[in-house]
């Protein structure tokens, strides 16, 4: 089935949205700053509700924030 990889543009979107700090984003979506750090560095894959919250915090769709990569299913 190939290995799954979830990359994201959270850091890029933070800077595009008025240089939002990690703490400000964390407060907006209701998690800790450590969780935002872990998501940005790809060490933690957020749940679907949190992924939606992040996308809505930036005013974009979920696929504009996260990219799913898999050898079998390709990149979306």
């Amino acid at each position: 089935m190939g290995s799954d990889r979830l990359s994201n543009k959270v850091r890029r979107l933070r800077f595009d949205n008025g240089e939002l700090t990690q703490q400000q984003l964390a407060d907006k979506v209701g998690v800790t700053r450590q969780t935002i750090i872990a998501i940005e560095s790809g060490r933690y894959s957020p749940s679907l509700p949190l992924a939606f919250k992040l996308a809505r915090a930036f005013g974009v769709s979920i696929e504009d924030v996260f990219k799913f990569e898999n050898e079998h299913y390709g990149t979306k």
């Binding site: 750090i37 872990a38 560095s41 933690y44």
Partner: protein, 142 residues
Amino acid sequence: MSNLQKSAWFNLVGVTVLGMIGAAAILFMARMNTKGVEYVLICIFVPVLASPGLYIYCRKKSIESRFDERERVIHSRSLMVAAFGLTIFLACVCMLPFFVLGGQNVIKVYYLPLIFFSALFIAQFVHSAAILVMCALEDDDG
């Protein structure tokens, strides 16, 4: 420091202190050779001894309710580590005397509550230590 780390440190210190008090109490009772009805008197003092434990438990629960989803993942992983640690501890404590002393030997009864409280202590200790190690590893990666 996140709520998870605060809770782990709180737990680690609280459990260590209460574990030492509990072990001292059991050793004291074992020396007095208390049995049967005499435990009624001890039961009167148990709520007094348990009150700091209850306070720690309630405080920990209120902190845990503020965990976010990543902290809950770390929390549940550390619970698995604690269960593994507890299994290893119980296997060692119950099986080693059997192999070392042989099946026909006897052990003193006060070892039983000591083993029980030690098991609780080990589980809580490993749980808190695992949380702190996992958080430290994540911080190192970042």
